[in-house]
């Protein structure tokens, strides 16, 4: 599904190398996790996959289902089925959540040559999905993420993911700032989307999210590289011993 090879990324504005040769392959239908200390480059990787400005790829590639992501505009990547759940979801005053969702769903359908969703079908689907994430009607009417609590913002990310039904989901610290109940809601939302044709790359700082979303593979990222790869046990190891042991082992 997603094949990242020797990816080198620097900041456009400064001479600062952030990703120093990331290699990572996520197979179709699998859930991979990336863990790593703060500042290791996890968010940068997610942004570069999504096509955010300000980063320069100096070497390497990122291919999704045979499509070179780095060749595409951000919106084209989304239409190809890439979704990024933001670590810090953006507030957009003046644009209602509902308008935002409908515009996004229809734009992607259009890009894929499909018909727009009828207003009634759309409403029905949003309501059902919002309900399972405990997002009420009032939150749908409000401007995007405005006045949402941290947990509400993260649930709103999952709602967007559910509506857009992407094939490659990248979740950047979706667990941060969530209490146990909210984390459970989010995890349930993600698990409900797990399917044979859909892959996940779950970025997290802590192991606890992975108790709820069981990963197939765990990668450890440090200083812009994947330094270790293993099964779900690797996450537990990090939980017990911290990153220091693993990093020392590498050195």
């Amino acid at each position: 599904m997603l094949e990242i090879k020797n990816l080198h990324v620097k900041l456009e504005e400064e001479d600062k190398q952030i990703l120093k040769g990331v290699d990572l392959t996520v197979e179709t239908g699998k859930v991979h996790a990336i863990m790593g200390p703060n500042g290791s480059g996890k968010s940068t990787l997610s942004y570069v996959l999504a096509g955010r400005e300000g980063y320069e790829v100096t070497e390497g590639s990122a291919v999704m289902d045979g499509v070179d992501l780095l060749d595409l505009e951000t919106e084209e990547r989304a239409a190809e089925g890439l979704f990024l759940a933001f670590q810090y979801p953006v507030e957009i005053p003046g644009v209602s959540n509902m308008t935002f969702l409908r515009t996004a769903v229809n734009a992607q359908r259009k890009a894929r040559g499909e018909d727009e969703m009828s207003a009634t079908d759309f409403l029905k689907e949003v309501r059902a999905k919002a309900k399972s994430l405990k997002i009420d009607a009032e939150m749908l009417k409000r401007p995007v993420n405005m006045g949402f609590s941290g947990g509400e913002k993260k649930r709103n990310e999952i709602l967007q993911m559910a509506m857009l039904a992407p094939k490659m989901c990248v979740l950047d610290e979706t667990d941060s700032g969530l209490d146990v109940d909210a984390m459970k809601l989010v995890a349930d939302g993600v698990n409900a989307l797990r399917s044979e044709g859909r892959s996940f790359l779950v970025i997290t700082h802590y192991q606890r999210l992975l108790d709820h979303i069981k990963p197939d593979v765990v990668h450890i990222m440090a200083d812009g590289r994947i330094v270790k790869m293993g099964g779900p046990d690797l996450a537990l190891e990090v939980e017990h011993n911290g990153y220091a042991d693993i990093l020392a082992e590498m050195a």
């Binding site: 951000t74 919106e75 989304a78 239409a79 953006v90 957009i92 005053p93 003046g94 644009v95 996004a104």
Partner: protein, 436 residues
């Protein structure tokens, strides 16, 4: 000192010469009835004040030369291939073409709860209800800041509509101003009187003329309500100066919204005076400009009564070197306690070439008031844009969404949500034509 005095004198002489030249260029309507006196008085005001000059403080950001000059200006007509805005509204529709009333394209001048007439037809009478308003509100609005182009209009306006609402009028009065001749020079003067407890909605739209000078005097009596929605658009080279003079009685309501797109020069002045307690005035505007676009909102609100609320909300979206100006003043006179004055003017600059100049002013002589003002200039929020793009929304559409979100606060000032929706659609269509 002597040199300065000489210069001042020379400037004054210059102005008078200019005013006389301008007055000479347009014939004064041969009014023999009730309007003769106010027209004559306005004429004297023009000669005394002279016409606006680009060195005037009040015209610091907008060059009035082409609005003041005797020579007409040219403006090609432009058809954006859109149907007439407000066309679906059940209304009393009147049409002016290049400032000339088009009876064929107008409904008959009658309606439930209103007295309505053309100025040019009503002014032969000796007495009329508009007497005492025509030119009167304009004259009151000449102090403390002179507005000579409005006095010029009172003196020379060829026509206009006089509307008196005596009850809650269901059908809005809708005036469409079409522009056909390349060098048309039009001057219209409307008077609206809303009687106690009555209500009226006035809709206006269209490019009007190559050069358009319009005055709207509105007297809202106690507990009356006046709603005004205006769309100025189409022709890129058109020039317009408009003045609204409003006087508000006790517990009255005044709401005015203007959407402006295109036009090489537009100056919209609003002069609003609270004379009765507990009244409300909201004035809002949104404009979208691309290239050789210059738009100036100049507002002067005088609180001379207790517990009145005034609200100014102006949003400007500018690209390709377009220029936006906002001059807004709230004057709270002594004794105008419990005044609630709010003013916000904001611009969204879509590139580095565009420019927004703002001069917000508060002048307060009462101690128990709540007044606030703010002015901002900004660009499209790149984080918000990336967020929208990352959800698959194409760049143009994402930008449009953000621009519409930016102007939404001004549009929300319109109480009639259907009309607000229609204006938003026009904005979206304009953005579609002016993107990339």
């Amino acid at each position: 000192m002597a040199r300065q005095a000489n210069r001042k004198e020379a400037m004054a002489a210059d102005r008078r010469a200019q005013a006389e030249a301008r007055l000479g260029a347009t014939p004064m309507p041969a009014a023999s009835g009730w309007s003769a006196a106010p027209r004559q008085e306005a004429l004297s005001r023009v000669v005394e004040m002279g016409l606006p000059h680009r060195r005037d403080e009040y015209w610091k950001f907008t060059d009035p030369t082409t609005l003041s000059q005797p020579e007409p200006v040219e403006a090609a007509t432009f058809d954006p291939q859109e149907s007439l805005i407000f066309g679906a509204v059940d209304r009393l529709h009147l049409t002016f073409v290049d400032g000339v009333f088009d009876a064929e394209a107008s409904d008959s001048l009658e309606g439930e709860g209103i007295e309505i007439a053309r100025l040019s037809e009503a002014e032969s009478a000796d007495i009329h209800w508009a007497q005492g308003l025509y030119g009167t509100l304009e004259a009151r609005g000449q102090s403390p800041v002179a507005r000579p182009l409005a006095a010029l209009n009172t003196a020379l306006a060829a026509d206009g509509i006089l509307i008196r609402a005596t009850q809650k009028v269901r059908k809005p009065v809708h005036i469409t101003y079409l522009h056909q001749q390349t060098a048309s020079d039009a001057m219209l003067h409307h008077v609206v009187k809303v009687e106690p407890g009555a209500e009226l909605t006035l809709l206006e739209n269209g490019p009007a003329a190559a050069r358009f000078n319009k005055v709207l005097e509105v007297d809202v009596a106690d507990t009356g309500a006046f709603h005004h929605i205006r769309a100025q658009g189409r022709d890129h080279q058109r020039r317009a100066v408009s003045h609204i003079f409003a006087r508000l009685g006790e517990e009255s309501t005044f709401k005015s919204f203007t959407l402006t797109v295109n036009g090489v020069l537009t100056r919209n002045e609003a002069v609003i005076e609270f004379t009765g307690d507990n009244a409300t005035a909201h004035i809002a505007g949104a404009c979208l400009g691309d290239g050789t676009f210059h738009h100036d909102d100049t507002v002067f609100i005088t609180h001379d009564a207790v517990n009145c609320e005034s609200r100014q909300v102006f949003k400007k979206v500018l690209r390709n070197g377009a220029k936006g100006v906002f001059q807004g003043k709230i004057l709270v006179k002594e004794g105008a306690q419990k005044t609630d004055g709010y003013q916000i003017s904001q611009s969204l600059l879509l590139d580095d070439d565009s420019q927004f100049l703002a001069k917000p002013e508060l002048e307060i002589y009462a101690d128990d008031v709540a007044c606030s003002h703010g002015s901002t200039t900004g660009a499209i929020d790149e984080d918000a844009l990336f967020y929208l793009l990352s959800r698959g929304i194409p760049r143009k559409e994402a930008q449009s969404l953000l621009v519409l979100a930016f102007v939404a606060e001004a549009i929300e000032e319109i109480e009639n949500k259907d009309l607000a929706g229609e204006l938003t659609e026009r904005l979206a269509a304009w953005l579609q034509r002016h993107s990339g």
